[in-house]
Amino acid sequence: MSEVLVVVEATREFGVKKVTLEMLTLARELGTPSAVVLGGAGAAEALSAKLSEYGAQKIYAAESEEIDGYLVAPKATVLAELVTRVQPAAVLLASAQEGKEIAARLAVKLDNGILTDVVGLAADGTATQVAFAGSTIVKSKVTKGLPLVTVRPNSVNPTPAPATPAVEQLTVSVTDTDKLAKVVDRVAEQKGSRPELTEAGVVVSGGRGVGNADNFKLVEELADLLGGAVGASRAAVDSGYYPHQFQVGQTGKTVSPQLYVALGISGAIQHRAGMQTSKTIVAVNKDGEAPIFELADFGVVGDLFKVVPQAAEEIRKRK
């Protein structure tokens, strides 16, 4: 079977991201998965255990300060060389900012089609995408070149399939044009133990109804009890209650968790666009006419400052 290249998405703090495990799981259906680690010195070493556990038959490691020190372009150059050499059956990247950007450059370099926000990929290359905020399901195909797709987090259930991959170090030779955008600093914000928003199985979000930044503690508390991530509506972010990187909606993150809890969120189209493909939706809002209830599998019309603490207490009791 042909190789399927999976470009590893990882963070300094949490290591291999869940979407990478999803891609490895998906790649096993299409061929033989090979993981590609693009990072600084020693990057692959730290990630190899997890990649092996989820079935990587081979690990390509491109490790260089040039990859780590410049934005995206060096990664695309290294990947383009690899793709040209091994002629894989498909190339999978994470449908997040950087994954899409690497894929974008790769598509131009190879004059190859690209599909983003893919939630399913058949062996014949037919991809399933969701469009227009989840309201439309699209079947599409790359018609020039190999299937180059970015996979949306929470699309596939990651399952382990232990393997013992060989590690192949790639030579990194990038051009001056790849080194035009220099990363001079990386600043961590909002560190914590919560799962990353787009990957979380549970997301608890607060909206304008939360009232102020301090009250978001209530949202955080419920999220922590459910092992989830915290999100916020645009209204809450614009009001300064919670930082922008946690915004869920048309101009923020798109999430598709098993459980989405909307607290004090009316459910404007702007917000629904980012969360309506969630499996189960629960809402608490004092306005019984709020559109969020049209989506909610379970809705409580009431004061979130009474309902949420009581729910938190009840969860603690049951634990």
Binding site: T136, S140, T143, V202, F298
Partner: protein, 259 residues
Amino acid sequence: MNIVVLVKQVPDSGADRNLRTDDNTVDRGSANNVINEMDEYAIEEALKIKEAHGGEVTILTMGPDRATESIRKALSMGPDKAVHVVDDALHGSCAVATSKVLAAALGQLNADLVICGAESTDGRVQVMPHMIAERLGVAALTGARKLTVDGATLTVERQTEEGYEVVTASTPAVVSVWDTINEPRYPSFKGIMAAKKKPVQTLSLGDLGVAPSEVGFNGATSAVLEHTKRPPRSGGAKITDEGEGGVKLVEFLATEKFV
């Protein structure tokens, strides 16, 4: 500084949006077509740079005839002029072909700085800035929540999952911005009147030296095979809190095995 802002006309994300049943492209005919929201932030950023450092701001749009409305709207915010790439052969173009056309147009405009929204609200594909930069061989500083211009040096704060990166490059460069970067101005009455007289140059594929076979359905590198509308979600149980709302909520979560 010679700044070009990429502006895309998209169907209003606040209303129902559809793909056409005949060719699976975005249905613009039945939609209320507006400027892609993120592009308004790009325009604002360009105007701020012009105000601080001097120069000229040009709007560049690829789109059908009706995109003229969005171009005039963009000009009413304050840019100096616009270039509209319009050609019937462009209908059905994929992202790869679109980047080829936009790069060809930018090649004629000698921009020091190209600014665009980080993504459009219709496709949300987020690939255009890097595709264009790759073709032009210039830097791409993408996902900016802050942009500083110091002579020919650009510095952005790029939003990431873990925080932000500080990234620098020299002009010429492509910068894409999120809606956290500024607060776009509303067009003034004077601005709206002035926009009607601002020059809008139209360019065809022939003007850009791009063959019709490289774009549209014929030149597409990917194809939509079919599409279906997902049935709208229907609401489930809704209860009114009479003192036990929190407990009932947890009971529901327990039956769904979340607790």
